[in-house]
């Protein structure tokens, strides 16, 4: 056994070529397996409320009876105004909020005794202009000093672009109802936005004075925002269950306590079940848990805003959206009571939500894994690139040294009889060795840095061109991705008169630097957005194992061409096309959404794609392509 280990240790080929490959591969396999094991009972935990002050569901909710008449009255008025507007403009399909309706919201809030203000905003992205007007009212806390506030948001259009008439009406009714209570110790802000994408972003940016010029500043403000709840009710019938949406921009999540409070109140106090991640049927089996987790990871990884609540997250304000779903016997009053109870819980808070987890993966409404349990899986995948980079670096240091060794050995063997001569030669070789073989790093460093900077070109393009050109641009990039690596490979192998032809050591160095950067970026990213790091890591996993091929020409051509074709299927634009084809969404709409996210939400998924994934992929292709030339 020990002999075998010693043998392996003295075998450079094993140490520098085989072992890193095995280790890297193991890292990836263990990383994926780790993720798959998370839904098991032993690895996940039941959720619990950490913050004792929240006391969810410990108070009686009084929002019933007569308030329903007021709700109906408000709804009737708003409905009439909406219909009026629609008839004059003859728009059946497009839901557009009429100025009359928003004036009505304004006057109802004012009549209820709230301080009301409005804010106009305008965003332009990918050649599309989004504009609108936010209306908001503030209930000043009778028992507070206006240093803290809770936000209730009702958007006229839900996250799925449906008219949220009942949600808006419910918020209005709650505003009138809350105003009469004397127990609030935090201000309550009722915010009415025209849609779920832009309105809250404009408002919360302006609340913190970080708004762009096209957004008006807020004339009226309150204290630090402690939490936000978004109300949706986009249909007429009664509902069955509450769907809780919690993902923020760039994969940020609200404090788990807020989610737990919502689940505890809806499930425990009101007897309404709570769903998450569009899992309408959740039997708490392994498959269902895994599916819930995967859906959560996809949303987190893509990093887009999943509702009006998402815009609050970057400002460290915990926020969720409550969506009624299904047909059942719960009416708007039940939703109102849930929200009342949530506001009472948030009202109890003595300090900002901080007790519970900010990094978690939910797999059921009462099961989760925290960062300590799931992080190793992404870190292992990121680590595989680093292992490979270190191994390649060591290999470039090893081979040049071992080469001069063999001829020296032969020489000394042949001249063994004359001892003095051998010594002389030994000395000479030693003198030569003082000129140590050094790595030629200038070209690899320049190339890797240059290609990473080149990523700024597609980044700029896809965020700044008009939306109608997105599909064309994607196809152009598919072609560029086929041609560019071959061109670079030819340039490197033959020099084409521009530079000296490259030597094998430099190929290894290029790969080493590229993988080092990839590992670096992915492990950093894993701490910020676990899912994105995991997804990119998996898509890049083949890059660890491909390199310049050696062997007979025919074999090299065949294998490398096949490899290039396969690798091209994993290029960023091809993956985008593939996913769009599979889900049936148009490329244009995805990219429009992405550009919108970049311009308005401050989403940086694109940066990762174009400045981390794409350069690494490109260098992998160049490596493989160089075996053709």
């Amino acid at each position: 056994m020990t002999a075998a280990i010693r043998n392996l240790r003295e075998n450079p080929r094993f140490l520098f070529t085989r072992l890193p490959n095995i280790l890297s591969f193991l890292c990836i396999v263990v990383g994926v397996a780790w993720l798959l094991l998370l839904p098991l009972d032993d690895n996940s935990r039941r959720t619990y409320i950490s913050e004792n002050a929240l006391l969810p569901g410990q108070v009686h909710a009084y929002f019933t009876g007569s308030e329903q008449n007021i709700f109906r009255g408000y709804k009737q008025e708003l409905q009439a105004l909406l219909n009026e507007g629609r008839e004059t403009e003859n728009q059946e399909t497009e839901v557009e909020v009429t100025p009359a309706a928003s004036n009505k919201v304004h006057s109802i809030l004012q009549a209820a005794g709230l301080k009301v203000a409005t804010q106009k905003y305008e965003y332009t992205s990918a050649g599309i202009t989004h504009q609108g007007e936010n209306i908001y009212g503030i209930i000043h806390a009778p028992r507070g000093d206006a240093t803290e506030a809770i936000v209730l948001v009702a958007a006229w259009k839900t996250a799925d672009d449906e008219l949220n008439l009942k949600g808006v009406t419910l918020a209005l009714t709650l505003a009138r109802y809350f105003k009469r209570w004397s127990l609030w110790s935090k201000d309550i802000i009722f915010l009415f936005t025209p849609d779920s994408k832009t309105g809250t972003q404009a408002w919360v940016d302006a609340y913190h004075d970080l708004h762009p010029e096209s957004v008006q500043p807020l004339p009226l403000k309150s204290g630090a925002l402690q939490g936000a709840v978004v109300i949706e009710y986009p249909f007429e019938h009664h509902f069955q269950k509450l769907h809780i949406v919690y993902d923020g921009v760039n994969g940020q999540l609200p404090n788990l306590d807020l989610f737990n409070t919502a689940v505890a109140i809806a499930g425990g106090q009101m007897g309404i079940g709570a769903n998450l991640q569009e899992m309408w049927e959740h039997n708490d089996s392994y498959e269902a848990r895994l599916q819930t987790m995967m859906r959560g990871m996809t949303k987190q990884g893509l990093g887009y805003a999943t509702g009006a609540h998402s815009s609050f997250m970057p400002y460290h304000i915990d926020a969720i959206t409550l969506q009624p779903k299904g047909e059942g016997w719960e009416d708007e009053m039940a939703l109102g009571r849930t929200i009342e109870s949530m506001c009472r819980s948030l009202n109890n808070l003595l300090e900002h939500l901080h007790q519970s987890f900010f990094f978690y993966l939910l797999m059921h409404s009462n099961r989760f894994v925290s960062i300590g349990t799931y992080l190793p899986s992404a870190m292992l995948i990121a680590g595989n690139f680093t292992i490979m980079a270190i191994a390649l670096w060591m290999r470039t240091g090893y081979y040049p040294e071992s080469k001069p060794d063999t001829p020296t050995g032969e020489k000394s063997k042949s001249e063994k009889p004359t001892k003095t001569g051998a010594k002389k030669i030994e000395k000479e070789t030693k003198m030569n060795e003082t000129a140590l073989p050094e790595r030629l790093m200038a070209l690899p460093l320049t190339l890797v840095t240059g290609l990473h900077l080149l990523g700024l070109v597609p980044l700029w393009t896809f965020n700044n061109i008009f939306h109608q050109y997105f599909t064309t641009a994607t196809y152009i990039f598919v072609v560029v991705d086929i041609v560019l690596p071959l061109f670079l490979a030819a340039l490197l192998s033959n020099g084409l008169g521009v530079s000296k032809p490259i030597i094998p050591q430099q190929y290894l160095l290029i790969k080493s630097f590229a993988l080092l950067l990839l590992g670096l970026a992915l492990s950093t990213l894993a701490t910020l957005n676990f899912s994105l790091s995991f997804m990119i890591g998996l898509l890049c996993a083949p890059l660890s194992f491909i390199g310049r091929l050696q062997g007979p020409a025919a074999l090299r051509y065949g294998v490398s061409s096949l490899g290039l074709v396969l690798l091209n299927l994993l290029s960023p634009p091809m993956v985008l096309l593939g996913v769009c084809w599979y889900t049936g969404v148009s490329v244009e709409s995805v990219l429009t959404q992405a550009a919108f996210g970049w311009d308005v939400w401050g989403m940086w998924t694109q940066v990762v794609v174009w400045c981390v994934w794409w350069p690494a992929w490109l260098i992998g292709c160049v490596q493989l392509g160089s075996s053709i030339f």
Binding site: Q252, F358, K430, E438, L520, L528
Partner: protein, 423 residues
Amino acid sequence: MAVDRRMIGVFGVAFVLRLLLICLFPSLPDLLTGRVEVSTPVNSFKRLQEGLYLYTRNVSPYDGGVFHQAPLLLPLFSLLPDIHSNPVPTAIFYFIVDLVNAYALVTISESGQSIQSRLHSAVRKHIQWDGVSVAAWFLFNPFTIATCLARSTSVFTTSGILFAVSNAVGGNSVNAMLALGFASYLSLYPALLFIPLVLVCYDRHLQYSNKSSKAVGYVLQHAAILAASVVGLLALSYLITGNFWEFISATYGFHLLVPDLTPNVGLWWYFFIEMFDSFREFFIGVFWLHLASYVGGLTARLRRQPLFVIASLLGVFAIFKPYPSISDASLYFAMLPLYRHLFPLMRYTFFAVSAILYSSLLGPAFYHLWIYAGSGNANFFYAITLVWSLGLSILLADSIFSALHDEWEQDHPDEQGVEVKQV
């Protein structure tokens, strides 16, 4: 004049790159100015603005306890146009300071003192970079660019140190002392470089002139010049501020006693946050003693290469200073390429560079999690500053190891090439 054309090329490209960065990303300078990795309480441009505001309104700039920099910077910056309405002249002023620093590096490199001095002659003389390449490493180092764009006032200290060294290796010992006086006046800690610097001057003096002078006399004479230059600058400062003790305690007292524990890339802030107040004075003494003790040890051990002692001390300062920033690291990285001939002997470059790269990515990420996202805490960021210091320490220790190895090979020509392995 092919060499000069190359130099103009490098300098021109460096200038244009900086100009492009501020034109393409106008918010970048202000973003960098606010980063704790770049701006510390003693070099922050924002704090300088505050001091300047008070100064131009005839209030003592040290009122309010925000400004802690040398008073002579104030009249200098009051000459520049207002930063808010017209930021470009100030930015260009900083670009020029960077280029001037790079020029000093070219001079140091071309003097050849890093390879061959009176007592030392490197074994691998053929492996070296010329002055322009050394300057290019400095000018295109992202840390240097970030410091320059953030308009940190450390660049003036950097200038002082680099000019002190470039004058010393050029044989102009008086100017070297004046420049060191300027640097010490600005930031105090460069005064620790006096002993190795005077040794550089002394070696250079013996090497090129026939007059032999006594070492003690020479050192005392130069110490007097240094003291005179500092006293002169302090006197000028007194003329500007009017209240001598106020400015001394607000600047040097602030450097020495470390009252501001804003996070930075160094090791002091977290330690002194955790410290009980009764132990504070003792540990401040210990920390300073630790920092100063490297001077004696390194100078004695590497007596034959005083210029290398200066370079290593700059690395030590970048790690163990009370308010270090990436500008200190960039100064150390600027001096390292002068020792290109030692690179083949260094063993852990890859790991050190990886650690530094990791920490420079993870540092901002963890700071974001701590301060903005609220999902991390101070320990996240402190852990990364430890990694950063570890990376720099490995690099430092490795370079000192290879310098010693080089000396050893010089002493034992028979044993050259033994036990030299690249990992």
